[in-house]
Amino acid sequence: MITLTIDGKKIQIEEGTNVLEAALRNGIDIPHLCYHSDLSVSGGCRLCQVEVEGYDQPVTSCGMACAEGLVIQTQSERLTAIRRNLIDIFLADHPLDCVTCDKAGSCLLQKYAYEYGVKETSYIPIYSKTLYQDDNPFFIRDHQYCILCGRCVRVCDEIVGVHAIDFANRGFESHIATPYDGPMIDSSCVFCGNCVEVCPTAALLPVSRLKRGREWDLERVDSICGYCGVGCKIEYAVKDNEIIYAQASVQESVNGSFLCTKGRYGWDFAVNPERLTQPMVRRDLAYSLGISTENWRLPKVSPLDIDKPDVDDYFIPVDWETAYEIVSSKLVDIVKESGPDAIVGLASARCTNEENYLFQKLMRAVIGTNNVDHCARL
């Protein structure tokens, strides 16, 4: 552990941490656009400069390793001037469309322009990029808003391991591109959307949120992704009881700031009218158990052969208690009649490890059979 002082506050931190990270972890916000805690350091935005005791010139805090006894100031007149100048330069190549922009309210460039009081650029606005790409159903790429922070490139390479995008061309002509600027679908992209998540501006946006309201119009609902056993924390942005988009919820989650394509984009089932929301019992069983008074037998045509079978034709909804009751009594009957080995249990990868553990325990200790397997092994 190393002790350093930032804005008069004594801070203890592990060796190897950079000054910006140390400040952020201790609730001190140094402006930063290119830095992201989970990605390698870039140094391209130049915003995070701080004053270091003993140094004449300001130092880029994301690129400086914490050292014992460092004394850092994150605010000073000189720093404010530098940051204003930099935001000013950013805005020279960034259309000021905040009044209609979907990202307004969560755009970092807007945030810092607000904080440092930069109303408009003092430069001659010269825009380097105009490309707009909506070549996939998941996200759009609107290059005019891209500030080339490179977060998307790094997340794709370092976290996702796909490296579908990178910088193309040089200098003012630089832009983020798939190989040969081809459509996303022709690249190695897996549409995980992590680039969209880390993008500080409106250059990458989920298709689902376009013109669907801005940050302050959206409600946040924390949840756990149901797709697999990892159990990623997920945050749904909701409006009028509809999901607008999903993103990783950073706090104390197993998944940090990242999600896979299913969790991020595969939530349309949530409001699908065909979604099962409670246990169902087949109508003939329900009749025989006295839950339903309506006698019913399986129709001649298998539901598998019907194009869109209506679930209500075959099942009736019951509460959970009833459902458990039926399952457990049936299992007891089978064990009594044919012995425990007449039962086989098949566990699911969508359950957590703990759930799967409990399940095999149930099969072995309660039912009394070793007939238990898992879909991941099949």
Binding site: G43, R46, A92, I147, L148, F167, G171
Partner: protein, 562 residues
């Protein structure tokens, strides 16, 4: 290979060379080649063959002789050591030269046995003997262009055949390496470099001995040496010349560096626009490997070293050391923040020495002649010599090697023989797109790292462009700004966007749309780009503008409304 074998090879070559009455050297470096030296060389060879006197005279292809503006250049060196230089040697002149210097021997088998084209050449040579044009092409050796030079790095360039290891050996090649690995510890080599005062010739002037010591002390099983041959300054060609014209000297310097820091592998990073340099360095590596100078157990010691070539794709920024490292690693050539410096974390995260071509080429002479000898040349803090590519509006342009501290006046008025025509000398630009202009009023400034910095310029890698009174300085500054706009890597915002804004302001002025306050604004933007950019490119991109604003403000002021 053992020392004895090395010496034998050198002796054999020396003896072979001494057998000739005279040797005719023809420059086949890029500048002369583009002036037709390929044809000149062929004419010399054909003439020699037709003369049937190949045992008396040798025609040798060599590198740059300096006065590139007068190429193709040919030098005749008598066995006695006497030398005559000829400038602008066309193919006709080449035949006249052969006619003058090569006796037309009687063919042994009689004329009938000779091929018809040889008979034809012989009759042309007979005729050429009566011509008198050659005399007019003699270049006096007493020209200040030659007498003011002190050759350390370029000593053998123009004498040695760059494609012949034996020739390099005959000139004392690889003796310095041998001395280092047999008589000196790595520490002693580093100390010797420190004492010599050699500073990096790539631009920043960092003390080479200190850099090597850092890497030597860095703890790591794997270390690398990289020779920076990316030379991107417009108009500069010192490094290209060195690699093309005496590649073994650069390789030897690199190997000494490797020995000094404990590296077993090295890379030459050469820009793709230098195909001849790439070819010559590759040949040198192959030849050295075959001779046992490169590889395992070098010269019988337990020092192992291997080298490879990596080719750059023409980005100026890839000359910046961290971008260069990324490029060798197969990544996009973009700089990163330092520290860590390459000396602690370079190629693939390993301690790495990166030195400029000229820096490496200075090393063998320093080791052979001693640090004290080298430190005697130059000024207090800038030791040794510097090679400059003298270009622009000057009578004599070309490659010169001068002692540090020589005045600009001597270079411009004496060596360069002043600006041609009616125009006058106005300014000298050093350091290329990262440098500044030194005006006439400072023409007596000694050229060294400190003085140039005081004047708002830098030594740079050796581009020296002379500007005459017909040039508009705002236009000139715009040229360099345009270069920086094109060459910015795009990583950081001040450089990517700021340079475009500076160019736009210059355009506004140059197109007559200037407004009061524009010059102050220009200075302000330049300062922002300079102070906030990530790497040296952006940090120095505004220099040409700032320096011309400082010394030639009136040329900007007339662009404003009165």
């Amino acid at each position: 290979m053992s020392r004895e074998k090395l010496d034998q090879m050198a002796d054999r070559e020396r003896e072979r060379q001494e057998k000739f009455d005279r040797r005719v050297f023809c420059c086949i470096s890029t500048a002369c080649l583009s002036a037709g030296a390929g044809r000149t060389m062929q004419a010399l060879k054909d003439g020699l063959e037709a003369s049937q006197s190949g045992d008396k005279v040798e025609v040798v292809q060599t590198g740059c002789m300096g006065l590139c503006s007068r190429g193709p250049l040919v030098r005749v060196r008598e066995n006695t050591g006497e030398e005559t230089y000829y400038a602008d040697v066309t193919t006709e002149l080449a035949e006249e030269l052969i006619a003058k210097y090569v006796p037309l021997s009687e063919p042994k088998a009689g004329d009938e046995a000779l091929a018809p084209e040889i008979i034809e050449t012989r009759s042309r040579l007979e005729a050429a003997r009566r011509k008198r044009t050659l005399k007019k092409h003699i270049l006096s050796q007493n020209l200040p262009f030659f007498t003011k030079q002190v050759k350390v790095v370029l000593r053998d360039v123009g004498y040695v055949d760059p494609e012949k290891l034996e020739d390099y050996l005959a000139h004392g090649g690889y003796q310095a390496l041998y001395k280092a690995i047999t008589e000196m510890t790595p520490e002693e080599v580093c100390d010797e470099m420190s004492r010599s005062g050699l500073r990096g010739r790539g631009g920043a002037g960092f003390p080479t001995g200190t850099k090597w010591t850092f890497v030597r002390k860095a703890e790591s099983d794997i270390k690398y040496v990289v020779v920076n041959g990316d030379e991107g300054d417009p108009g500069a060609y010192m490094d290209r010349t060195m690699m093309e014209d005496n590649p073994h000297q650069v390789l030897e310097g690199m190997m000494i560096a490797a020995y000094a820091v404990g590296a077993y592998h090295g890379f030459f990073y050469i820009r793709g626009e230098y195909p001849i340099a790439i070819d010559r360095i590759r040949r040198a590596i192959r030849a050295a490997r075959r001779a046992g100078i490169l590889g395992d157990s070098i010269l019988g010691s337990d020092f192992n070293f291997n080298a490879d070539v990596r080719i750059g794709a023409g980005a100026f920024v890839c000359g910046e050391e961290t971008a260069l490292i990324h490029s060798i690693e197969g990544k996009r050539g973009m700089p990163r923040m330092r520290p860590p410096y390459p000396a602690t974390s370079g190629l693939w995260g390993k301690p790495t020495v990166i030195n400029n071509v000229e820096t490496m080429a200075s090393v063998p002479a320093i080791l052979l002649n001693g640090a004290d000898w080298y430190a005697k040349i130059g000024t207090d803090q800038s030791k040794g010599t510097k090679v400059f590519a003298l270009a622009g509006q000057l009578t004599n342009t070309g490659l010169i090697e001068v002692p540090m501290g020589i005045s600009l006046r001597e270079i411009v008025y004496e060596m360069g023989d002043n600006v041609p025509g009616d125009a006058e000398f106005k300014a000298a630009q050093t350091g290329g797109p990262s440098g500044g202009c030194i005006p006439m009023s400072h023409v007596d400034t000694p050229v060294d790292y400190e003085r140039l910095k005081e004047l708002g310029s830098i030594m740079g890698s050796g581009g020296l462009v002379i500007i005459d009174s017909t040039t508009s300085m705002p236009q000139f500054a715009r040229f360099f700004m345009d270069f920086c706009v094109d060459e910015s890597c795009g990583k950081c915002v001040p450089c990517r966007v700021g340079t475009v804004q500076i160019r736009a302001l210059l355009d506004k002025l140059l197109e007559g749309r200037g407004q009061v306050g524009d010059l102050e604004r220009l200075e302000e933007v330049c300062e922002i780009v300079k102070s906030t950019s990530l790497c040296g490119l952006g940090q120095s991109a505004p220099n040409p503008v700032l320096s011309t604003l400082q010394f030639f403000r009136e040329e900007y002021e007339i662009l404003l409304p009165s």
